[in-house]
Symmetry: C3
Subunit: 415 residues, 3 copies
């Protein structure tokens, strides 16, 4: 009976976490819409909305079995009870802490995140159809296979590579693909001028972007908190503390750094600082003391301000700063586990742990670069990746969706 109660409590916390991770998809959507131009708002919403459906369905069809091998690998199976309900009742124990259903849905909500990260980087110029096909393969196949190396008991976890909630397995998986996509797509028209200067393309709805950042933080309580995979009071509450302090320190760091650099209070940098801190802490949120978390968050917040500038100097046009936040801070966070995370958990010293972390980052990076290149390059050479110049100028909404996001509201050109 005690076991049952414990099972119920753990499962309950995981279900709360599912809802929180779900709402991150709204956060990603509104952040991205807010930082883009109004003429592409519907297109962005459409992508982010479809990704949730594609993510959950592909995860049901094959992703879940690819990521957590052990049952059989048949399509739409998840260990035998996907098609019909199990005869022995619904409470099918997955790991002593929650049910298979819970695990499927929590992991499925994660899966869609990887594609959503790419979505921000390719906004305002990618063909909707191509993006959806890319997502189908990347979320349905690439993401779960890579994830299985760490979270499904694969070789990276056996080596001691540690990634608590996905700085590498989620955020950098999205980030690496974003790099490939941004290069293959090229920058938005008018972003990099022939005289070598860079024209900032300003977002059209900052309150909407703010909504996105708050919701992402809110959702991160489930993203990191749920990754404990139980309701264990000490660990989960520590994780919520380190997560929140890292986000806070990221805000302060990005605020100070960007003020020193640009002499203005740049709100998009404050937003990025919060996200940088959140991504940075994610790999080791359960291993850090509050002070460690503040240090990691602060460094992430400094990194992001420089990262955004450097990425721009390479003429990689990333409208929402996704590469800086998810790839660079995700990588930093993964390495940070080797630096600050040695809490008696690793039987190796922290120097060798740092090496293991770097090795994991590299293996995942190469895999993502290769697979996303294959998918995206194939799409580019067949149906094409990019919308026409006319469509890009007039906006994707009116061309692909036959609608304006704000029918009654007078808009001006923001090219």
């Amino acid at each position: 009976m005690e076991t049952t109660l414990n099972f119920t409590i753990n499962n309950l916390w995981m279900m709360v976490s599912i809802a929180l991770v779900f709402i991150m998809h709204l956060g990603f959507s509104t952040l991205e819409v807010g930082l883009a131009r109004s003429k592409n708002a519907i297109n962005i919403l459409f992508k982010n909305f479809m990704i949730v459906a594609i993510g959950l369905l592909t995860f049901a069809i094959c992703g879940f079995n690819l990521m957590y091998p052990g049952g059989d690998f048949s399509v739409f199976n998840f260990s035998g009870f996907g098609i019909s309900l199990p005869e022995n009742g619904l409470t099918v124990d997955y790991n002593g802490s929650f049910t298979y259903w819970t695990d499927f849905l929590f992991q499925g909500m994660f899966a869609a995140t990887a594609a959503t990260i790419v979505s921000g980087a390719v906004a305002e110029r990618i063909k909707l159809g191509s993006f959806l096909i890319f997502s189908l393969f990347y979320v349905g196949v690439v993401y779960p296979i890579i994830g299985s190396w760490g979270w499904g008991g694969g070789f990276l976890s056996q080596m001691g590579f540690y990634d608590f909630a996905g700085s590498t397995f989620v955020h950098s998986v999205g980030g690496w693909a974003a790099v490939v996509a941004v290069i293959l797509l090229g920058p938005r028209l008018g972003k990099y001028l022939s005289d070598g200067s860079i024209k900032p393309i300003v977002g059209h709805n900052i309150p909407l972007a703010a909504l996105g950042v708050f919701l992402l933080w809110f959702g991160w309580f489930g993203f990191n908190g749920g990754s404990v995979l139980s309701a264990d009071a000490g660990t989960v509450s520590l994780v919520l503390v380190t997560t929140s302090l890292a986000a806070s320190a990221g805000i302060i760091a990005a605020f100070v750094t960007s003020y020193l650099k640009f002499k203005t209070y740049d709100i998009t940098m404050a937003f990025n600082g919060a996200l940088a801190g959140l991504v940075g802490i994610t790999a080791g949120a359960d291993l850090m003391s509050p002070l460690d978390a503040i240090i990691i968050g602060f460094i992430s917040g400094v990194i992001i301000v420089f990262a955004v500038g450097i990425i721009d100097r390479f003429k990689m046009d990333d409208p929402v700063g996704a590469i800086g936040v998810h790839l660079i801070c995700g990588t930093f966070g993964t390495l940070a586990v080797g630096i600050w995370g040695d809490k008696g958990l690793f039987n190796t010293g922290s120097f060798s742990q740092l090496g293991t972390q770097a090795y994991g980052v590299m293996v995942v990076g190469i895999t993502c670069l290769v697979t996303s290149f294959i998918i995206l390059f194939t799409l580019k050479k067949t149906i094409g990746l990019r919308v026409s110049e006319k469509e890009e100028k007039q906006g994707l909404d009116i061309h692909e969706h036959g609608m304006n996001a704000y029918e009654d509201i007078n808009l001006n050109d923001n090219e």
Copy 2:
């Protein structure tokens, strides 16, 4: 002690569900505002905001006792402890799983939903006062009496009629009244032209509508998850899985169907597809396998695309597609219990279950049509249902509320 812990856990999940169902009211509000014109935005928000207050207060005064008879029927009583706190302490056990307070609030949050559904269909032309009076009676009296037939131990539940979380008792109750209201009100000016053509009236803020759909899905975790009425790990997590997969399949189905039909990526159809899937699974979310859920969601998503067109052809002007989503998909979902839901739960075969489900749909439908007609027709003949032509043209905000929703923002006419 074990019983107490179990009680606390169940009650905790129900309280989380209460918060989630509450936030659905924000989802309904922003969806409806986003799909209407800016000149009526405040009016819509006002209606949806007032409904929460009216719903909870009428449920306290009489609805709760009407819906769950058993104590006495005195006004504002809920079984004797509405007016003063019980002397024997606060933990008044309702059903072995949670307290009376919890039950009251969970059910009260549901009650307001029925009126909110109507709100969408009558938007942009109904008199605020008439709508509030209608809500008062419909939520305070009609909804709980019908609900008592199924969830209060009444004749429909005794017959074996099954409606898990309210495809019929909530969604179709709102939907039937929406039909009556739309007919009695007539279409918005300029919607159906004299040459027989239909002029689409486009929503003014699609990001706001997207926010609404995401929040509704988010809230549905509590709407369906809480309807288990316990934190039972297996059942609740299955319900979250079937709910999410049905929504996902609804999106894909509506996307594909509308693309085939209209050759465009219509985001409002993708939104409707999600909601259709959610409403469709609601009657049997605890009885379906993941595959069943996908089938039901997919069919709902196909249905909604055709339903919206057909309702329009009957010149029933429903600005947000409420009738299609809540009535038609709610009815389909209720019948689907008889087709896919036979999981050893019914001692009757599924054919006879289908008959029982159809009977319940019919009884509820007739009751709603008659009662909502009486209320609305009385209002029409006394204080009137519809605003003046001038008011409708200039917008309800400036006339009824003396304000604009977007004071600083330049708007154009969108008649």
Copy 3:
């Protein structure tokens, strides 16, 4: 083992409450942005976003130890485990119900609220830097010291002063400082005309404001529900019921009162009515019957309509009505504990309880007035409190942040 399970359940509910209180910061942000003019939207978002970071970090550095003395008082300590993780494992029991981490984060989320309340009152004219410095001291030092008198076992709690979730310790602490700030700052340009008339300055995005109110109510389930400091089924669910009924009654009361007074359906008054009811019930949400809660909410809703008018007549320019909602209704709610709250909890009669409540209100009020005056007056005489006339007219966004909130959207002057 039973103790452990109970501990886990209580801790789980507190973690859910943390997430809910966090999202209130989004609610405050969007409410304030929506009720202000578009030219200051980024500035407002910036303030409210930074406050979360400042609140959590100062609470980690000193606030938590100031508020809950008992361990040692060293900076960034929280009882010895802020800097390194405790060797004896993570589950450091705080009070038999949840961990230190949980307590820190829940209380830290509260702390930031006090400054956010001030933010609304000073909107559209305060210098960003001055506001942030004020927040640093007010949230980091003043708030926790005052809080310790009631919630940290200090003299007010020993006297029997009762403030369940912070009508006084949170809301009035913010409200008193708002009074001082509004007086020292002076009204916005053009608000009070030379002929003695008052020019209403209308908010620019009412849907955004509505989002804020809904989210605040949503978050209040955690604000009040979490203040039970356990998952006790009876008490928490009663608190959710009284909280929701008070909000509902506040809406109806403000709706009716403002309609009788102004003959229009004023949506900002309906919003304020909800918040008034929520603030009003907060001091005694666990002591009231449903009927008491409705009475308290209703009175709060009536009060707020008159309060807003009276504050305006004193030429105190409070753009969002923060003083009326948080100070006046917070004070009423605290006194209401002495009137309706005598449920056998107090060994004194309710008259003497009313005196104790009034005494607490007075002590807190004087302390807040003095401390906030010292901080704000020092700022005024050094770096200055208020932006230049030019900056105020053109908007703080373009001057302090170099950006527009709505780059693509055509705006008109709304001075």
